[in-house]
């Protein structure tokens, strides 16, 4: 049949494709050739751990605090945030840039509290990108001291609220004291189960894939694997997000109205729903977060089917 660039007179109406069905319910018509999608591991993961939701250490009041309109069964397990707009927030108020960052930390604390309340299991925040090292030295030093101060001040809260802290990124570039603090905090909170906060510092998606590649190459050199053995599963074991049970964010929120990912978690964002909020990060509160979650719950996630 030649390339049909016009409609035939009365085409039949066929039954709609099963767009809304999860991929695992759609029969495999081409199982011989189609390799397993990287989604499969995260979806299967989500399904097997659905039954373990109740095992999470939740306070009794958490189950009653979901706002109207949000469905508990459709809550994202992992939310990622690009906290953009701190400097613009400060400039709009004729404040120094550091005030913007401090307001950003307050905003983060509120969102962490809301995530704990609403049953979101993992929150990843893009605190400091590999590209941010190009910023003025004074600003970078202030940010490093802000991270140190924030982690020290909130240590008590992490233990009290049963929050696990994980830090991802190239920590070798950070001041030694901050590196030690982060490593110790990670170790001390590793058995906390209520909620996990992943802080990406000196991180980029490219860096994450390259370091995973280097680890795999080292394993190949040591004869543990062949280069041809490298697959999705091996790759994900070496990515920095191997610190969590839910490495793939379901929802990515970026504030300040910019429509880009800025090199955050590239591999992991393959099927993530993106939400771009207009407000600046220090102004991003419960109402905006609710809007993002409601939008997420209305999305049809087809995963290519």
């Amino acid at each position: 049949m030649p390339f049909s660039l016009h409609f035939s007179p009365t085409p039949p109406i066929t039954a709609p494709s099963p767009l809304s069905k999860p991929f695992f319910l759609v029969p495999y018509y081409h199982t011989l050739h189609a390799p397993k999608s990287p989604l499969c591991s995260s979806m299967e993961h989500a399904l097997t751990h659905q039954g373990k939701q109740e095992a999470f250490d939740r306070r009794p009041e958490d189950s009653q605090t979901l706002p109207l309109g949000l469905r508990r069964d459709a809550m994202p397990s992992h939310v990622a945030v690009i906290m953009d707009g701190n400097r613009r927030w400060a400039r709009l108020r004729d404040l120094p840039v550091r005030s913007g960052y401090e307001a950003g930390v307050e905003s983060l604390r509120k969102i962490v509290e809301i995530c704990c309340k609403w049953g979101i299991k993992v929150l990843s925040v893009f605190a400091f990108s590999s590209d941010n090292w190009f910023r003025p030295k004074v600003e970078v030093e202030f940010l490093m001291s802000l991270f140190e101060r924030g982690m020290q001040e909130d240590t008590g809260i992490f233990f009290r609220e049963n929050i696990r802290i994980s830090v991802i990124g190239d920590l070798t570039k950070l001041p030694k004291a901050l590196q030690e603090l982060m490593v110790n905090l990670e170790e001390a909170t590793k058995n906390n189960t209520r909620f996990q906060l992943i802080v990406a510092v000196s991180y980029s998606g490219h860096y994450d894939v390259v370091q995973a590649c280097q680890r795999l190459a080292l394993k190949a050199k040591c004869g543990l694997i062949e280069p041809s053995d490298i697959n999705v599963s091996l790759m994900e074991q070496e990515l920095e997000t191997n610190c969590t049970e839910f490495p793939h964010p379901d929802l990515l929120i970026r504030t300040s109205g910019e429509f880009r990912i800025s090199n955050f978690m590239l591999w992991q964002l393959a099927y993530t729903e993106l939400f771009f909020a207009q407000s600046l990060w220090p102004d991003f509160g419960e109402a905006e977060f609710l809007k993002a979650l409601l939008a997420f719950q209305q999305r049809q996630r087809r995963y290519g089917v």
């Binding site: 085409p11 050739h33 999608s37 989604l39 998606g205 190459a217 880009r260 591999w267 939400f275 995963y303």
Partner: protein, 274 residues
């Protein structure tokens, strides 16, 4: 209408003249060098028009043809289109077969266009998943157009970013292995010099013939990458349009370019940084 007549019709006539005038105005500002598209919404278009999904895909193919021509006229150098994902094999067999048939027809049409306008055509993806017939046709087209560089069209077929990255990682490991180079060596300062770098992975990507996209357009109103160019779109502008793909026209492209121009200052700064 015959397909060649349709191409000639798009390239000539008063509509083409008006378009060129409009593009001349747009070119006062910066034009993206590389436009990537996720062509979503063909089935929704078919449902809306009360036609079958297969005809929806035909309309989608026509829209892609229009986009290629518009981009050539606008001065865009690279266009990358997400034609078929590895995940799409899970769709109904007749849908998959339709897309394969369209791919074969497109190869023939692109062969004709490439001679007309010196277009380099590249198929990016795990091509071994295609039938032998389509593979051979695609490879012949790629070889015959390899010398053209006026305009580069990349069709991502049997593609996912995850597969592309894994392929590039495997190639990088094998390359270093074959060269007999240790994975970790010492530089003069006695620090570890990691010999697998971003550039090593990037050169083995399926889409390595084109630079990173400046703008990634997704139609259909969804906000997600669906495993398309996740590595390459790290810093590019994302544009989601509510219109379904078969209805994507010149004004949607103009809107996307204006959106890119509004954010151009950031990208120019980024390029200087790199």
């Amino acid at each position: 209408m015959l397909r060649e007549d349709i191409i000639i019709d798009i390239f000539s006539g008063w509509r083409s003249f008006l378009r060129k005038c409009l593009f001349r105005v747009l070119r006062v500002g910066p034009i993206p060098s590389h436009v990537a598209v996720i062509m979503d919404g063909n089935r929704r278009y078919a449902k809306k028009k009360k036609i079958d999904d297969m005809t929806g895909y035909d309309a989608g193919a026509l829209a892609l043809l229009h986009l290629i021509i518009y981009c050539m006229e606008l001065g865009v150098k690279y266009v990358t289109a997400y034609a078929f994902s590895i995940d799409n094999f899970r769709r109904q067999p007749e849908e998959v077969q339709k897309i394969m048939d369209l791919t074969m027809e497109s190869v023939m049409l692109l062969t004709w266009i490439s001679k007309l306008r010196s277009v380099r055509v590249h198929f990016a993806g795990k091509l071994q998943l295609l039938s032998a017939e389509i593979q051979d046709a695609a490879k012949r087209l790629m070889e015959s157009t390899a010398g053209y560089n006026n305009f580069v069209l990349t069709i991502c077929i049997c593609y996912t970013s995850s597969d592309e990255i894994l392929h590039a990682v495997e190639k990088s490991c094998k390359e270093k292995w074959d060269d007999g180079i240790g994975i970790m060596g010492y530089d003069k300062g006695n620090d570890y010099e990691r010999l697998i770098k971003v550039e090593d992975i990037e050169k083995h990507m399926y889409t390595a013939i084109a630079p990173d996209p400046d703008i990634l357009i997704r139609t259909g109103g969804e906000y997600r990458l669906s495993n398309f160019l996740v590595w390459q779109s790290s810093c590019c502008h994302l544009s989601s349009l509510g219109t379904v793909w078969p209805e994507f026209g010149v004004f949607h492209l103009v809107w996307a370019v204006l959106d890119f121009q509004k954010n151009y200052r950031y990208f120019a700064k980024k390029k200087l940084q790199l």
